[in-house]
Subunit: 221 residues, 2 copies
């Protein structure tokens, strides 16, 4: 399977790219608005993977080209770039699954707060921007990007996966399951997005308020 990470030069994109390239046999494609930057980062990831003994090809393209080549497109961009990123690649999405890990947050002196767009959630915003028939699945919101991108660090985390298209949810669940130490959990449909997305500011607040806790993920039991 071919996985494109749009915004794959950023922190969560980097973590997912490195882990999939190391732990699975899927093709990992880095997308960026700037194709030179995408190629540079793809080469950087290749070198990092080689340094842990994994010789694998990672490619880099402009977002449109990356999406064009992919079966699964991860929108690894900030919440406020979801709409324009989806619009930019809309005519490249055919039988493609869109994945959104983004969260809308605000920050004040107390900490981070869940601040969804008027659509109710970032996932609902992505679903509205997506062409008809292109399923949107939410996943990977609650992974600490720093630890994810550090291949020396083991993880043992859950990630809730939600969406209304059962086949697409199954595809993303299987991909998540291939990352070592990651357990995908079914969080239901798109209507349940808010409860998943609001985990992210909670994790940031807990890491900031408690000595010794940082790069937090979550495990349900």
């Amino acid at each position: 399977m071919r996985i494109a990470l749009l915004g794959g030069t950023g922190d969560i994109g980097q973590g997912l790219a490195l882990r999939w390239a190391r732990d699975s046999n899927h093709d990992v494609i880095i997308g960026s608005r700037d194709p030179d930057r995408a190629r540079e980062k793809a080469e950087e990831y290749e070198r990092e993977l080689a340094s842990v003994g994994r010789e694998v090809k990672v490619t880099g393209f402009a977002n449109e080209m990356a999406a064009d080549r992919a079966d699964v497109v991860v929108l690894a961009v900030p919440a406020y770039h979801i709409s324009d990123t989806v619009e930019a690649v809309a005519d490249r999405l055919e039988e493609t699954v869109l994945v959104t890990p983004a969260v809308g947050m605000s920050r004040d002196e107390d900490g981070f707060h869940y601040n969804p767009p008027p659509h109710g959630s970032v996932a609902a915003l992505a679903a509205e921007a997506a062409p008809e028939g292109v399923p949107v699945i939410g996943a990977f919101h609650n992974l600490a990007a720093g630890r994810l991108a550090n291949l020396e660090a083991d993880i043992d985390w859950d990630t809730p996966v939600f969406g209304d298209d059962e086949d697409a949810k199954e595809t993303v669940t299987a991909l998540a399951d291939e990352i070592a130490g990651l357990r995908p959990l079914d969080a239901g449909g798109l209507a349940n997005a808010g409860e998943v997305e609001s985990l992210t500011p909670l994790l940031i607040n807990l890491a900031s308020e408690n000595d010794g806790l940082h790069d937090l993920g979550v495990k349900f039991w």
Copy 2:
């Protein structure tokens, strides 16, 4: 210390009462609108504690009397009874810490959803209802009541604790820490209540959507 559980005849109240009575040396007081019911349940808890080798006194009173006797008052009632419960005991609260574990939720065919009162959170609602100078601390939202109330079941869970009064937060944190298998974490001030409260519908959705998962709690790492 004397801990009163208003609504201590209900599920989360029962779990906290049993665990504190078993794991700490604090006085546990069961409150209910119906004092007979409070006394009955207190005796039932005593018998259950005796059956696991813990001979300890648990008392039961009407909510007003329970609050009057307590240093810490846990509002173990549904979100829609927070206001009237606080009002009923308001003149009994002196140097008392109020604790709110309640969450506002709605339910539809997709699952449970976080549905806070117009105040922004149940904790903010409790703070508005509380007499001036009585601190409100949020904690114990995300404990599965069934497993908590089953003394045969070990737990290994975190509970985020939040509030604006640092002394009161410290008191509640120390009490939470005395329950075996429970790790309190600082989630910051009252403004961070929504992110903590919305964990509860997520836990319910995950338990309902995933075979083999039930009575879910959470661990952050």
